[in-house]
């Protein structure tokens, strides 16, 4: 669908460029033809995948029915024969230059493998090692994905292994399920090697989900306060951001550089979200306790230090390092500092001063994110920065609603601060970017 939209846009642009004499009609023809060649029979592919998914569900229902009229070994044999047929069809499709149908057939094979595992578990009434069965299925699907190659099977492996990790945490008492990281990294490496952007996004998102579950579970088991859990999340988000900057800047020797922007943007969004959450954590979920919350706050500090280290080795020159890292790192440290202050002084924790300081944190981070997005040409970062800023302004307006005069004074001060900040940022940007880079940055701002 996106290809169609892109083609329409390109046609319009090419018409305009031809009128201005920027491209010749021949060149325009060739450009349009070049994307035409990559078009795929999308409807057929989608139908093929839907067919594979239906076959998978049919196998699962067949197993669940536990049909007594057919002997168990025969049922298992039927499923294994189905697997063989799927892989056979996949090989034929691949040889006949239908890679997408081959992909769908391998997916169906991996799904039948899972159904077979469930059938064996059912036949022998195995109830204890449910996660182990999912692990076996996930590994099988991963191997099929790797050797196929099959994107759909890789996605199946990611889903099944996520379920595996979830059961290990929920039913088997893992507080932080580290083995899942190995699985996600392996899947991510394969997706990266295939230049498969959705796969890269999904594996990074899976890692985000793992971090959220791990932090929440640790907080629950150890009675951490909401504020210190949010600080740990903030630290983790900054590590993501720093890792993203590092991968974008330095890792050309592998295909890992494709992960740079993905880690970067999820890190930034997470960072802003955590700062916004921090005010709810401090005001609505109980004040941190110094004894219990020291370890998580230390973890958050270590994570922020790690992010700082990554940012420091990413950029050459003190100015670039400061421009990239100073504001988010300072805001992260301030988040920890305010949580500590709240733990030490209950009156301060509930005061308007705390509210305003937390608000300033979000606003500064939001403004910095907008500036950062404009500088590196990331529209998503700029947008999220603006959203965070606007949301924070609205929130502060609501909480300070009682005294409209105070609100007026607060916003006046804020407005003057913002304008001053804007002036500083413009000067900084001019001084730091070389002449041709300036043009690029301006282009990024418009994009």
């Amino acid at each position: 669908m996106l290809d169609v939209l892109y083609r329409r846009r390109l046609e319009r642009d090419l018409d305009a460029w031809q009128e201005r004499g920027l491209v010749t009609p021949e060149a325009a023809e060739e450009m349009l033809a070049s994307i035409g060649q990559e078009a795929r029979p999308r409807t057929a592919i989608i139908l093929g995948f839907l067919g594979a998914i239906l076959i998978a569900f049919s196998a699962i229902a067949f197993v669940a029915a536990n049909w007594a009229d057919m002997a168990r070994p025969f049922r298992l044999g039927l499923l294994v024969a189905g697997m063989a047929a799927c892989y056979g069809i996949a090989a034929l499709m691949s040889l006949a230059r239908h890679p997408w149908f081959a992909d769908a057939a391998i997916f169906a094979g991996s799904a039948l493998f899972g159904a077979s595992i469930m059938l064996v578990a059912q036949s022998y009434h195995i109830s204890g090692d449910y996660p182990d069965a999912l692990l076996m299925w996930g590994v099988g699907a991963f191997i099929a994905a790797l050797l196929g190659p099959s994107r759909a099977s890789l996605l199946l492996a990611l889903v099944v292994l996520s379920l595996w990790s979830w059961y290990e945490v929920v039913d088997y008492g893992w507080m932080v399920h580290w083995p899942y990281v190995v699985a996600v990294v392996l899947i991510g490496v394969v997706a990266g090697a295939w230049h498969w952007s959705s796969g890269i996004h999904l594996s990074v998102l899976a890692l985000v989900g793992w971090i959220v579950v791990s932090v929440l579970n640790s907080a629950y088991e150890n009675d951490w306060s909401a504020a210190s859990s949010v600080c740990v999340g903030c630290g983790a988000a900054l590590v993501f951001f720093a890792l993203g900057r590092f991968l974008s800047a330095h890792v050309h020797w592998t295909k890992a550089s494709a992960f740079g922007p993905v880690f970067g943007i999820y890190g930034l969004i997470g960072f802003l979200a955590m700062l916004i959450l921090l005010q709810f954590a401090i005001f609505d979920s109980g004040i941190p306790d110094l004894e219990i919350d020291r370890p998580p706050l230390m973890v958050a500090g270590v994570l922020i230090a790690l992010a700082g280290l990554l940012l420091a080795i990413t950029r050459a020159g003190l100015r670039s390092i400061l421009l990239d890292g100073a504001v988010p790192l300072a805001m992260g440290i301030a988040a920890i500092g305010l949580s500590l202050a709240a733990a030490r002084n209950e009156a301060f924790a509930e005061s308007l001063g705390m509210q305003i300081l937390l608000g300033v944190l979000v606003m500064v981070a939001g403004v910095w994110t907008v500036a950062f997005g404009n500088r590196v040409g990331s529209r998503a970062a700029a947008t999220f920065g603006l959203i965070a800023f606007a949301a924070e302004v609205l929130y502060l307006y609501f909480v300070t609603f009682g005294t409209l005069l105070d609100t007026a004074v607060f916003f006046l001060t804020g407005g003057i601060l913002m304008i001053a900040l804007a002036a500083i940022l413009v000067r900084l940007q001019r001084r730091l970017t070389p002449a041709d880079g300036g043009a690029r940055a301006a282009g990024g701002a418009r994009a």
Partner: protein, 198 residues
């Protein structure tokens, strides 16, 4: 995407996946064939699993244990691996005679089954028999991996409805490491289901 060896690569996938399934089957068949037979008393209930269909949830007498009362170790927490020694010398179902954090030696007329502590709770003594468990009465719920008995669609109710006036016993096979598999289901002492090896 056409490459030489696609047949070979997918054959490897098929062989590996089939071998994994075969290993699962043989492992269980061997346990059923050679494991020690132990009879356990149960109360069945009937839910349904997303992937594996209808099953009867089996609540064994040895699912709920009071460590202070039956001997062995006393300190346990959730998700600990435990070994429960069973007295098999009696004519009826086997009785728990000890719960241990480490595997105890096997003795004649005694079987050892491995489980995992699902929950630990402490409460007041039972009202009807305070001596059975002095307060604080510490109770464990233990999973042995044999709590689900999968049946053809619709048959779960038949087994569950028996429980008020019938005795349901399960014969399990216990392997050398304490792992257990369901072998037979007895209702009022009569074999109702017997599991084939394959």
């Amino acid at each position: 995407m056409m490459r030489p060896g696609i047949l070979l690569r997918l054959l490897i996938v098929l062989v590996l996946q089939t071998a994994a399934l075969g290993w699962m089957v043989l492992d269980r068949a061997e346990l059923l064939r050679s494991g020690t037979e132990v009879t356990l008393a149960v109360v069945p209930v009937d839910p349904r699993d997303l992937f594996r269909g209808d099953f009867v949830q089996l609540d064994y007498d040895i699912t709920t244990l009071r460590p202070g009362m039956i001997g062995g170790d006393t300190e346990f927490s959730e998700n600990d691996h435990v070994w429960v020694a069973l007295d098999t010398s009696l004519s009826g179902p086997a009785q728990p005679i000890g719960i241990f954090r480490h595997r105890p030696p096997t003795l004649p007329e005694r079987a050892v089954i491995q489980g995992r502590v699902r929950s630990v709770y402490e409460g007041s003594s039972p009202v009807d028999d305070p001596d059975a468990c002095p307060s604080p009465c510490r109770t464990l719920r233990v999973d042995y991996g044999i709590e689900q008995y999968f049946v053809p669609e619709g048959e779960g109710r038949n087994i569950e409805n028996l429980r008020d006036d019938s005795r349901v016993n399960v014969v399990v096979a216990i392997g050398g490491k304490g792992e257990a598999a369901i072998k037979k289901l007895l209702i009022d002492g009569v074999e109702r289901y017997e599991e084939p090896l394959f």
